[in-house]
């Protein structure tokens, strides 16, 4: 087997390992608390993970192009707040229009980051760290420091998150649809493939005529749009919009991507792995309270899991490359 094939092989091995780990974890939690694997809890687990899953797709594309986006928590707060204010002022607004409004605002904010990164070569960390604070500040400014609470929102708006389509919670439906759309976009369109080309070798991609800057811009715009969508869903789900909505949520999203095998060095990342990573984080968040772990442990545990995932990734990769080289020598 050559290096490439071996790497593909280890990638699928990695996903299998993650799946195995999820099963083991679920069984272990189930033993400690039988309420875990009930239909009710699984439903709430998936509902809670839906927003994370939507965001993870966008973050994967950003990571694939060797970037990172730290501003998504703030963008969610801002779009959620603006949409909630609109809903409070215009109670008759249709839910679809509200979602569209949030997404559009998110796209615009993402485009600003995109221009900074793609046109002016600002480091993604710097650009998004700046945006994170600017947008968070703007959220407080537009809201005047006040909350928009449940009673100010129409029932139709709240139904975005609580209602069901074909017996399944709307959030899950939206997440599944987003996944299907992006599966097509990433694997079967030219633009989707080109994003990976830019990520795995920017110089080669540029030389072969791929509009690198335009694609990087596009990736941040997509991320912004998905954050806007997620912001609206978040506000509908918790039925309140606050200045500190989703603060630090970007870390969880990045964690989900890394667990799902998305490489920080660019060019690598599959939706199937991403889904497993997201579910893994969802289970962690759902199961810890069930087995009586203090919520204050959650952050530390997540951090350690992320670092462990990153480091194992590196070790596995080093190992495969070394064995492949050794075989070639003989």
């Amino acid at each position: 087997m050559n290096i490439k094939k071996r790497l593909v092989f280890t990638e699928s091995l990695r996903e299998l390992g993650l799946l195995l780990f999820i099963i083991v974890l679920s069984v272990a939690v189930q033993f400690r608390n039988p309420a875990f694997l009930t239909l009710n809890n699984i439903n709430s687990l998936l509902t809670n993970t839906a927003i994370l899953a939507i965001l993870a797709i966008g973050m994967m594309l950003v990571l694939v192009t060797r970037g990172i986006d730290l501003s998504i928590g703030s963008i969610m707060a801002f779009t959620g707040m603006v949409t909630a204010i609109t809903v409070a002022r215009v109670p008759g607004i249709s839910p679809a229009l509200a979602i569209l409004e949030g997404t559009a605002i998110g796209v615009v904010l993402g485009m600003i980051t995109g221009v900074l990164v793609a046109r002016f070569d600002v480091l993604p960390v710097i650009a998004t760290l700046g945006m994170m604070n600017v947008v968070r500040g703007l959220t407080y400014v537009v809201s005047g420091g006040r909350w928009i609470s449940s009673y100010q929102m129409s029932t139709e708006f709240k139904a975005i998150a609580t209602g069901r389509t074909l017996g399944v919670n709307n959030l899950i439906v939206i997440a599944v649809v987003t996944y299907l759309v992006f599966t097509y976009f990433i694997n079967h369109t030219r633009t989707g493939r080109r994003i990976y080309a830019v990520g795995s070798n920017p110089a080669a991609a540029e030389v072969s005529g791929i509009p690198k800057r335009r694609l990087i811009f596009l990736v941040y715009a997509i991320m912004g749009g998905l954050s806007g969508l997620a912001g609206v869903l978040w506000v509908a789900k918790f039925a309140s919009a606050q200045g500190n909505t989703a603060i630090g949520y970007e870390l969880q999203v990045i964690a989900a991507c890394i667990l799902g095998g998305v490489s920080i060095t660019g060019g690598v990342g599959k939706l199937s792995g991403l889904l497993l990573g997201t579910i893994m984080l969802g289970i962690l968040a759902n199961a810890l309270p069930l087995i009586n772990v203090s919520p204050f442990w959650q952050m530390g545990i997540q951090g350690v899991v992320v670092l462990a995932a990153v480091l194992t990734n590196v070790m596995v990769r080093r190992n495969t490359e070394r064995t492949a080289l050794r075989r070639r020598a003989i």
Binding site: I68, L116, F120, D121, V122, L123, V125, I126, A127, L129, G130, M131, M132, N133, V134, R136, G137, L138, T139, Y140, V141, G145, G243, L251, I254, A255, I258, I264, T265, S294, F296, W297, Q298, M299, G300, I301, Q302, G303, V304, V306, L307, V310, L311, V314, R317, R318
Partner: protein
């Protein structure tokens, strides 16, 4: 003849370069901020107020100095805010568990230095990983540990003399200002007058070339990140002393302010460019600016917007200057 002309143009260029230095712009901005502040409050330009104001914002200034080294290395450390929280929490908890205060303070510095050293160690052992992901994960872990230790409680009750760090004055000059000036001089000398400083600049330009010319690049990375952690510990000391107690959520967002100060100070995020004067001026610009916005009764969120914008704009200005320079040299 032609030689003479060239010399003259070079001298002229030196003159122009002297006046077109980034630092002069910063001095202008600083004066502007001071003028605006004094127009808001008539008490601001009073010498006693003026010399005491820095005590309100200088705590994060200590991290700016090593962060300058980190950026010159073409890296970034976003874990410093969490390092401050972790070391402050450990100091408070160990003091309340019976450790004498001087030892607790030492422990604070050791923990912070260790936190930085772990970042450096991860970076040199796992070269495939970018600094973003390493410091991002330690950022989560360090604050996570602080939460595990203290939950949502505060811890304090320090001895009276401890408040001298943040509030004390020597001949009317805040103790923290004196410390900051001394540490800044030390870091300035380290950056501009030692082999270590030269190798930091060299590694920012081309780390591989530096390695081949005999610089122990791993050691440089390790030391720079260790210093960054250590100074986060110093910040933790001064911050805790000023606040009198500590919580796991202190120093949230410090990384933004610190990086904004360094970038505003003319240190390129692409590495290899920077002087100690710029970030020092930037510390006072952003500090006085936030103080003035407090005077003008602007809410904290607007300060957030302004600092975030400052970070983006200052990086943008440097990028554009750099891009146009590159174009010029290509012609």
């Amino acid at each position: 003849m032609s030689n003479e002309i060239r010399i003259r143009t070079e001298r002229e260029r030196n003159w122009r370069e002297f006046f077109f230095q980034w630092e002069w712009i910063l001095v202008g901005v600083l004066l502007l901020v001071v003028i605006i502040n004094s127009s808001i409050s008539p008490y601001f330009l009073n010498f006693n107020t003026f010399i005491r104001t820095p005590a309100t914002f200088l705590d994060k200034g200590f991290i700016v100095l090593p962060m300058m080294f980190v950026l010159i290395l073409a890296k970034i450390d976003i874990s410093v805010g969490s390092t401050v929280a972790l070391s402050a929490v450990i100091m408070a908890v160990s003091y309340n568990a019976g450790l004498p205060m001087p030892l607790a303070m030492l422990l604070c510095l050791v923990v912070a230095g260790l936190g930085g050293a772990i970042n450096g160690w991860l970076l040199i052992k796992f070269k495939e990983l970018s600094f973003v992901i390493v410091t991002l994960s330690t950022m989560i872990i360090y604050r996570g540990i602080a939460y595990i230790i203290l939950g949502d409680q505060a811890s304090g009750g320090f001895p009276d003399w401890f408040s001298f760090l943040g509030w004390g004055e020597i001949f009317g000059v805040p103790f923290i200002l004196i410390c900051f000036v001394l540490v800044a001089i030390a870091f300035g000398l380290l950056l501009h007058r030692t082999t270590f400083g030269r190798s930091v600049f060299g590694m920012g330009r081309n780390a591989t070339a530096c390695r081949y010319s005999g610089v122990n690049t791993d050691r440089v990375v390790w030391i720079v990140f260790m210093l960054n952690g250590l100074m986060a510990g110093v910040t933790a000391l001064f911050l805790t002393s000023r606040m009198g107690s500590t919580r796991p959520n202190v120093a949230m967002g410090y990384e933004l302010e610190v990086i904004a100060m360094v970038a505003l100070g003319g240190v390129s995020t692409n590495g290899g460019i920077g002087r100690v004067g710029g970030p020092l001026l930037a510390v006072f610009i952003i500090g006085f600016l936030s103080y003035g916005m407090g005077l003008a009764n602007l809410q904290a969120p607007i300060v957030l917007v302004v600092i975030g914008t400052l970070l983006i704009v200052s990086v943008l200005v440097h990028r554009i200057r750099f891009q146009s320079k590159k174009k010029n040299s290509a012609v």
